[in-house]
């Protein structure tokens, strides 16, 4: 199991245990992390699972910031898109992400 921390806009931390090979969005939904809506269920079709990768982690694992073309397109539907923005349904959890910190935006839509 890999430990992931979601931090909401008020600074409240939600620590969850995620299985390798699943996605960050699934980990959030299974643990009912507030602010991750995931309307489309992981089809990269709604941009309601937007997260910001913690800057320290973006430095440690630069590939965490690599967005596919589809994901980049879908981010047009999100608000306050930053360099460290990702759709959590597109991040597959690997062992090296143990301890990963991501921030949940103020609002998905």
């Amino acid at each position: 199991m890999v430990k992931i921390t979601f931090i909401d806009p008020d600074g409240k931390k939600h620590e969850v245990e995620a299985e390798e090979g699943t996605t960050l969005m699934e980990a959030a939904i299974r643990n009912m992390v507030p602010g991750i809506d995931a309307d489309c269920g992981g089809a990269c079709a709604c941009a309601t699972c937007h997260v910001y990768v913690d800057p320290a982690w973006a430095e440690r694992l630069p590939h965490l910031l690599q967005r596919s073309e589809t994901e980049e397109d879908m981010l047009d539907f999100a608000f306050d898109v930053r360099e460290n923005s990702r759709l959590s349904c597109q991040i597959k959890i690997t062992a090296d992400m143990d301890g990963l910190v991501v921030h949940v935006p103020q609002q998905q839509g």
């Binding site: 009912m32 809506d37 309307d39 489309c40 269920g41 992981g42 089809a43 079709a45 709604c46 941009a47 309601t48 980049e72 397109d73 981010l75 047009d76 539907f77 999100a78 608000f79 306050d80 898109v81 935006p105 103020q106 609002q107 998905q108 839509g109």
Partner: protein, 362 residues
């Protein structure tokens, strides 16, 4: 967006006084894949259905969010687009003559003395049915609203999510935010009407149809509209700008760490849609997050005769797959018929042995 051509009942008029009452075997809330297949499954058991949907066309997310996206896990279809799947489900459901009520939202619910359910809509309808099926997915798909403080005061006055009356943009400073087909189509359409039109988008790339992007760039070059790189941060207007409440003066945007203002009397926002469960969440049913808890043997919710299927339901091991919605529709219908027709003996039948299907389909 492909038009599905679903029928819209003549009773689909705005509410005027007393509700029009419609009695039916089953009311299905949501015309996505699960709701459409529920029409077929209920029909197989001899139950007729009315179907509500908030959107102007059937198909739910398949039509609204990903009509052209291929789906690879529908049994028997190695590859099928959202729009094509809905067209086939509509044809299949059509065998049992469902009545679709589009642009219609479910509002209130009550259980009647005889055990049937009454459901009211925002269009002034009152459905009475022994079986109500919530197939509402993630809820009503509504335009996404940016997290801007005080936004509500401007909505419907100077900030809009769709164009209903283009005249209100004539001679105005108009900002259109977004980078998809809706944003570009309306920018091209409204630029000649507006005093000055600014298209605001976060990057140089647009996911809209290449032809629209080409046309937009031509118009920018010709000075017929402006394109500004940036993301919306806030609004300026109302009393603070010496205007009446809800009147917009400027859009505050940011790009690359720089914040700036764009003069605007009207703002159109096109950031897609997101689901909101809305009034259904207040029906007093047992919920888990935004989903309705069901018994996975019957798909009945915590209220007898109220069922939930598809993405709207929750049970151990639930997968949000279209194919799960089909399975759930079949089990729901099998249980629902005993509730709708308690006096009749019910036997399980395979579709291959049903005379009606043979007669109609050969």
């Amino acid at each position: 967006m492909p038009k599905q051509g679903a029928t819209e009942g003549p009773e689909n008029a705005p509410a005027t006084g007393a509700a029009k009452v419609i009695e039916t075997d089953a009311l299905i809330i949501g015309a996505g894949p699960a709701g459409l297949f529920a029409v077929f499954e209920l029909g197989m058991h001899g139950l007729s259905a009315h179907v509500l949907d908030a959107l102007p066309q059937i198909g739910g997310q398949c039509t609204e969010l990903y009509p052209d996206k291929p789906i690879y896990d529908i049994p028997g279809f190695p590859r099928i687009t959202g729009a094509a799947l809905i067209a086939r489900l509509k044809e299949q459901a059509g065998l049992f003559d469902p009545v679709y009520h589009l642009r219609t939202r479910a509002l209130g619910h009550e259980t009647l003395e005889d055990g049937r359910h009454a459901v009211t809509t925002d269009t002034g309808l009152r459905f009475i049915a022994p079986v109500v099926v919530i197939a509402a997915g993630g809820g009503v798909l509504e335009p996404k609203r940016p997290p801007i403080p005080g936004l509500a005061a401007y909505e419907g006055r100077s900030v809009f999510y769709a164009v209903r009356d283009r005249e209100q943009f004539r001679g105005r400073n108009l900002v259109i935010a977004g980078g998809g087909d809706s944003a570009l189509d309306w920018a091209i359409e409204l630029a000649p009407l507006a005093r000055r039109l600014v298209l605001l988008h976060r990057r140089e790339t647009f996911r809209a149809a290449p032809e629209s992007v080409r046309r937009m760039r031509e118009m920018v070059k010709a000075g017929e509209m402006d394109f500004v790189l940036g993301q919306i941060r806030g609004l300026k207007g109302g009393a603070q700008a010496g205007l009446e409440e809800g009147a917009l003066a400027a859009v505050i945007a940011a790009h690359g760490g720089e914040t700036f203002e764009i003069p605007a009397e009207r703002l159109l926002l096109f950031f897609g849609l997101a689901g909101k469960m809305g009034p259904l969440a207040d029906w007093g049913l047992k919920m888990e997050g935004h989903r309705f808890v069901v018994d996975p043997a019957t798909f009945q919710t915590s209220c007898a005769g109220l069922y939930a299927i598809g993405d709207a339901c929750a049970y151990p091991g639930k997968l949000n797959l279209i194919l799960s919605g089909f399975h759930e529709a079949a089990l729901m219908a099998h249980h629902a018929v005993s509730r709708a027709r308690p006096e009749e003996a019910h036997t399980f039948m395979h579709s291959t042995s049903m005379a009606l299907l043979r007669d109609r389909l050969g």
